[in-house]
């Protein structure tokens, strides 16, 4: 067995894979945040709670209705996305004329409500969700569990599909136009408020999808989203919310860096992303892919 800089390859590639998985969640979540922010100028603090709801939704579908993972993968994002649509219509839509900070405070309050309700009902110890594709293969330098490989490939596909829709299709063109000048797009006869609602639902759906993907890897837990969302905020600051591809690259990249830190300097694994954020802010305040305002 060969060793790389004193680290056994099993550990190195194992952490690298886990880093890619976390990176996939960062990418899916920051993508949703960026799309929502672009159109609504609201930072969706509920995003972490909606990720958690995705995982819980999958768990409930399995436990109460016997719907397996593959059904939940489609159903959970739709259910949680509809919940998002409801939230947008009932609450967030009332704040568009106000300072953006109120949107942040409102969604923070909503996140507390959702988290509190789930904690009351299910405690904070976490619920198990069985792995839908057990087993794996030995690649020689590492053991690759099938499910983890699937998560990385599937999230990458979803991210790239989202990029394609937004950057290359007619629908995406409307969306980008509405981000720039909603009033003008409205004047062309496009129902912008409905577009905003659906976009919010879509962003929330992405968060829920990440939650379903996470359920078999991490246990299903009411507090799983709260800590993640703060890291995702840092990811968003590092990448800047201007570019879809930027969000994807930053998300995966930071996941990998975090994984490598776990191998080479585990003491800093919790803080490395925040340190990178501080450095980026000093050197390039608008973020790696952001445009200066």
């Amino acid at each position: 067995m060969f060793e790389l800089i004193g680290v056994p390859p099993q550990a190195l590639f194992g952490q690298l894979l886990l880093g890619l998985i976390n990176g996939a969640f960062y990418a899916l979540l920051s993508l949703g945040l960026a799309v929502i922010f672009g159109l609504m100028n609201v930072i969706n603090f509920t995003h972490g709670a909606q990720y958690m709801m995705g995982a819980f939704c999958a768990w409930m579908l399995l436990s109460y209705l016997g719907i397996p993972y593959w059904g939940a993968l489609i159903l959970a994002p739709i259910i949680v996305g509809l919940f998002g649509v409801l939230i947008e219509r009932l609450f967030i839509s009332r704040l568009y004329h106000l300072d953006h900070l109120y949107g942040l405070l409102l969604t923070f309050g909503l996140a507390l409500i959702v988290e509190g309700l789930f904690r009351r009902e299910y405690g904070i110890s976490g619920l198990p969700y069985s792995n839908p594709i057990p087993g794996g293969t030995n690649l020689g330098f590492m053991f690759l569990p099938w499910y983890r490989g699937w998560v990385v490939l599937f999230s990458l596909t979803v991210c790239l599909a989202t990029w394609f829709v937004i950057e290359k299709t007619q629908l995406g063109a409307y969306l980008r136009a509405a981000t720039e000048r909603p009033d003008l797009v409205q004047a062309f006869g496009i129902n912008v408020p409905r577009m905003i609602t659906l976009t919010y639902g879509f962003g929330v759906g992405l968060a829920a999808l990440a939650g379903v993907l996470a359920a078999p890897i991490y246990s299903v837990n009411p507090v799983m989203g709260a800590n993640l969302i703060i890291v995702v905020f840092a990811v968003v600051v590092i990448g800047g919310m201007g570019s879809i591809m930027g969000s994807i690259i930053t998300g995966f990249g930071l996941g990998v860096i975090e994984g490598l830190t776990k191998v080479f300097y585990p003491e800093a694994s919790n803080t490395v992303i925040f340190i990178i954020m501080a450095v980026v802010l000093m050197l390039r305040p608008q973020g790696l892919f952001g445009t200066p305002k």
Partner: protein, 348 residues
């Protein structure tokens, strides 16, 4: 303006008198907790209410100062890590005996100010929503540092912090005597904030809040003003946290969490952002509510979230803000000339 300030001072004097006699009716530990959080919220309000900066990470100053004060009062000796080329990490050990409460609190405040200088220098490079996210992320980093650092005692925190005689002479072991110390600390902190808001410096801060580009074009070094305001706010939040550590003789992870940062936002929002007394009122209400609902477990979280939602949707000016608006309306009806009552308009 002059008349308005007289009013503020009269209200303040009334509250101080109330504070002096309050322990006759209310449990002093509860009052001290309210005072600590009132100061914390007022310090936070200096940023959101008068500079328009929403810091979502103020718990880092509050909680870290609590740890520093607790450590200074219990252990004293400070060990600082530093790095030298070739030699690697070393410890710089400064032998200090365990300190009296006032010095421990002062130490916590100074460290919070220093932390505020570092965090502020990074965070003010972005505005608005990004500023909130950056402060939140940096606070989370401080949280993890507190989890990992040795001196904080990890999950246990620093327990049984001794409350030595004040200045080495006055015995403050009893809660009632210490209450008056806390009341004095609160008054000093509050007056510093009040003075800051109503100074020429404070006027510039308001100008930045209203229109940053205009303040820049008028020749103000906006970043420097923001940074100074940030440091003052961080130091006073640290003063509040350090005092709280001496009150409960405990410094723990709870005070550094993002939930604590959220709570101070909630207190200020409920009381009234950008009002002089709002944050203190909000702190009293939220602390009372938490005490009252302590037996309901997770419902506290749900209720706090609900208050957030209601406050943002229908009650944005907060209790004091709405009250002031009401008084102003009456004054206008009575035909008096309209003027601002020394309270800035709700932050926007």
């Amino acid at each position: 303006m002059e008349r308005a300030r007289n009013w503020d001072m009269r209200v303040f004097a009334g509250l101080v008198v109330l504070g002096v006699f309050a322990p006759l009716l209310v449990y002093p530990v509860f009052l001290m907790k309210v005072l600590c959080f009132a100061l914390f919220a007022s310090a936070f309000n200096l940023l959101i209410g008068y500079v328009g900066l929403l810091s979502f990470g103020h718990a880092m100053f509050f909680g870290f100062a609590a740890y520093v004060a607790g450590h200074l009062a219990k252990v004293g000796t400070v060990s600082l890590p530093y790095w030298l080329p070739l030699l690697g990490w070393k410890w710089l050990v400064v032998a200090i005996p365990p300190l009296t409460p006032e010095l421990a609190i002062l130490g916590g405040t100074l460290v919070a100010a220093l932390l505020g200088l570092i965090v502020g220098a990074i965070a003010i490079r972005r505005q608005g929503i990004y500023f909130a996210m950056v402060t939140l992320a940096l606070a989370q980093m401080v949280f993890f540092l507190c989890v990992q650092a040795k001196f904080t005692g990890g999950e246990d925190g620093i327990q049984a912090i001794p409350r030595r005689p004040l200045l080495g002479v006055v015995d403050v072991g009893g809660d009632l005597t210490f209450y008056y110390v806390v009341l004095a600390i609160f008054c000093v902190g509050f007056l510093i904030i009040y003075r800051t808001i109503h100074s020429p410096f404070g006027q510039v801060l308001k100008a930045i809040r209203e229109n940053e580009a205009r303040a820049v074009s008028l020749g103000y070094a906006v970043s420097r003003f923001k940074l100074i305001a940030f440091v003052i706010s961080a130091a006073l939040a640290g003063l509040a946290g350090a005092t709280k550590a001496m009150v409960f003789q405990l410094a723990s992870l709870t005070d550094v969490t993002w939930q604590m940062s959220g709570e101070v936002v909630l207190m200020t929002l409920v009381g009234g952002m950008g009002t002089v007394f709002g944050p203190a009122v909000g702190a009293a209400i939220i602390i009372y509510m938490q005490n009252y609902l302590a037996g309901f477990g997770e419902w506290v979280l749900v209720i706090q979230g609900a208050i957030f939602v209601v406050a943002v949707l229908v009650f944005r000016r907060g209790i004091v803000g709405e009250l002031v608006a009401l008084l102003r309306q009456r004054a206008a009806k009575a035909g008096e000339p309209q003027e601002t009552i020394g309270l800035a308009k709700s932050a926007g």
